[in-house]
């Protein structure tokens, strides 16, 4: 052996999956709204839903490099599935999530055959097209979806048979947060798995992936299906906690918002998207309070500011700062 100490490969990889203090602090902090800002629990539940949706986009964009401008298609599919299920008499929330995940996942799997064949600009056009297509389809199928008026008559049964949705959002936030955390654990395992490594390989150099014998299309189909399921679950939670579904769940605005949140927070880090969702949703809430008509002006300014100052998003900037601070300390 040489004098240089090199971490034993397996231990090194093992260490990468260890929970860091910052992570534990983050998840503990997600409980603060219950005590500190009980008036904002409904907003907090919206943020948790957005966080789950961003997580889904980060898996395909941040890890596999698949750009999407139509990710609301899967969110909306989940929302309508859960909404319709409840309207037709089955309001049990957890099984509703499962069905929504399956339907959104099936739709994701079907579309993934087109998605896997393209990259970059054509992909943006295709995903945009899928999003618009589905929204128009939902609009014209008003007998099913309620069309422009939205889906009425949703009633969500108590969660696990005990916790009723309340006006203040206690149950809604606890429910959304619990599902977000459970899925986050799954996503965290995924990015540290051999498959997660393969996704990073595709993002870095898909040509070389083929030259090491990787079935890149199959990998992309798998992750796209998983992401569609997660997006569907996020949509389903929205439908269940608000007990309404409008066409807006499929809208371009939603697809654009989720992309903005991810870029704002930083792609390919899981936590980046969550941070982006928090900052974006809180900023939107505050700005729209200040100036109901022009709040998108401030959102635009925030976005440009962040991208110019910290190109890797807020979390990218944050980790750069901590690294510099550590380097400064002898």
């Amino acid at each position: 052996m040489t004098g240089v100490t090199i971490a034993e490969p397996r231990e090194y990889l093992q260490a990468q999956m260890r929970w860091r203090w910052g992570e534990i602090a983050f998840w503990l902090a997600t409980l603060l709204p219950f005590v500190l800002t009980p008036d904002y629990l409904l907003l907090a539940s919206q943020i948790a839903i957005a966080g789950l949706f961003v997580l889904s986009l980060d898996l395909i964009l941040g890890f596999a490099g698949i750009v999407s401008l139509g990710h609301a298609a899967y969110f909306g599919t989940g929302a309508y599935t859960a909404g319709l299920l409840s309207k037709w008499g089955w309001g049990e929330p957890l099984s509703g999530l499962l069905v929504a995940a399956c339907v959104a996942g099936a739709f994701g799997y079907l579309t993934s055959f087109i998605i896997a064949r393209f990259r970059h600009l054509p992909l943006i056009m295709i995903t945009l097209g899928i999003g618009l297509l589905l929204q128009e389809a939902a609009n014209s199928a008003s007998w099913l979806t309620g069309g422009f008026d939205g889906l009425q008559g949703i009633h969500t049964w108590p969660i696990v048979g005990r916790f009723r949705l309340d006006l203040y959002g206690y149950t809604a936030y606890a429910y959304a947060l619990a599902v977000l955390f459970a899925i986050f654990l799954g996503a965290r395992l995924l990015i540290h798995s051999p498959f997660g490594l393969a996704l990073r390989g595709i993002r870095d150099n898909s040509l070389r992936m083929r030259a090491i014998g990787a079935p890149t299309h199959a990998h992309i189909r798998t992750i796209f299906t998983i992401a569609a399921m997660i997006a569907g679950i996020a949509g389903a939670i929205l439908a269940q906690t608000t007990e309404t579904v409008s066409l807006e769940v499929l809208g371009f605005q939603r697809s654009a918002d989720v992309l903005v949140m991810l870029i704002l927070g930083g792609t390919g880090r899981l936590y980046g998207g969550l941070l982006g969702a928090i900052v974006y949703m809180v900023a939107r809430d505050q700005f729209s309070g200040l100036n109901p008509q022009y709040w998108y002006f401030w959102i635009g300014l925030l976005l440009i500011g962040v991208v110019v100052i910290v190109p890797n998003g807020l979390l990218g900037g944050l980790s750069l700062l901590t690294r510099r601070a550590r380097a400064a300390v002898p």
């Binding site: 040489t2 240089v4 090199i6 971490a7 490969p9 397996r10 090194y12 990889l13 093992q14 990468q16 999956m17 395992l189 995924l190 540290h192 798995s193 051999p194 498959f195 997660g196 490594l197 393969a198 990073r200 390989g201 870095d204 150099n205 040509l207 070389r208 992936m209 083929r210 030259a211 090491i212 014998g213 990787a214 079935p215 890149t216 199959a218 990998h219 798998t222 998983i226």
Partner: protein, 251 residues
């Protein structure tokens, strides 16, 4: 000719009016060491692209270990044991050296679809990756991202990635391109030590290295094979001297 590891039969390819491969025939026996030489634009890289499926031939057949692979996609050919490296580095810049090679091993062992188990649990795969890195003297930098490596080390990683797919036939496109001369000798020494179960074809411009490491030499000119023979035969071939070796400005 069932004994050949890789055979090319009557391969042709043209881009518009430009013929880049004209009726090429070639059969490499198991464990052979071939050098592919020829002036720039002779179609050497094109031939590798045709063999590996990056390009589809207009006519002809490519046979790997007795199986016709002409219509297979590149990744399917890799799975059957045909690997290549690139003249210009084509690595995973943000993956560490260990991750890159572990990825290639996982793909070969078909565990790269597993998303419900952490990578660190794959002992055999990681050990195999470390072993390959050790053999190529890359173990000291195994936790560095590929983009931070010295150029010569990146060239070695190119080979490590190809080896991780456990090739029967390995095609090296100018493995020492851009590497200083003394380092390129080390690099070729590593290539020379490869198991003789692997059939190797390499493109190289340095005649000293060609004559030292190749048992047979193929000379390509203008999209076709001019002559094939032992280094001694090639060195004394008047045709080769005229079109290639005689051209002293390019070494």
């Amino acid at each position: 000719m069932n004994a050949s590891a890789l055979a090319v039969r009557g391969i042709s390819k043209r881009f518009g009016s430009l013929v880049v491969a004209a009726d090429i025939d070639l059969a490499m026996p198991l464990g052979a060491r071939y050098a592919l030489i020829g002036p720039n634009g002779a179609g050497k890289t094109t031939l590798i692209n045709l063999m590996t499926g990056m390009l589809r031939p207009d006519a002809g057949q490519i046979v790997l270990g007795g199986e016709d692979i002409t219509t297979l996609a590149p990744e399917q050919r890799v799975r059957r044991g045909l690997a290549r490296t690139y003249q210009i580095n084509s690595l995973f810049p943000h993956l560490t050296v260990l991750e890159s090679v572990a990825l290639a091993v996982c793909e070969r062992r078909r565990v790269a679809q597993t998303f419900w188990r952490r990578l660190a649990a794959y002992r055999e795969e990681i050990d195999e990756a470390s072993q390959i890195l050790g053999a190529l003297m890359l173990d000291a930098v195994c936790h560095r991202p590929a983009r931070e490596l010295a150029y010569g080390q990146q060239r070695l990683l190119e080979i490590a990635l190809a080896l991780a797919s456990r090739p029967k036939v390995l095609l090296l496109d100018e493995p020492a391109a851009g590497v200083p001369r003394d380092e390129s000798k080390e690099l070729f020494a590593a290539i020379g030590e490869l198991s003789h179960d692997i059939t190797v074809l390499f493109i190289e411009h340095d005649m000293e290295l060609v004559f030292r490491f190749a048992a047979r030499v193929i000379v390509m000119v203008g999209g076709s094979i001019l002559v094939e023979g032992t280094p001694a035969e090639i060195a004394s071939d008047p045709q080769v001297r005229a079109v290639y070796l005689g051209n002293r400005e390019r070494g």
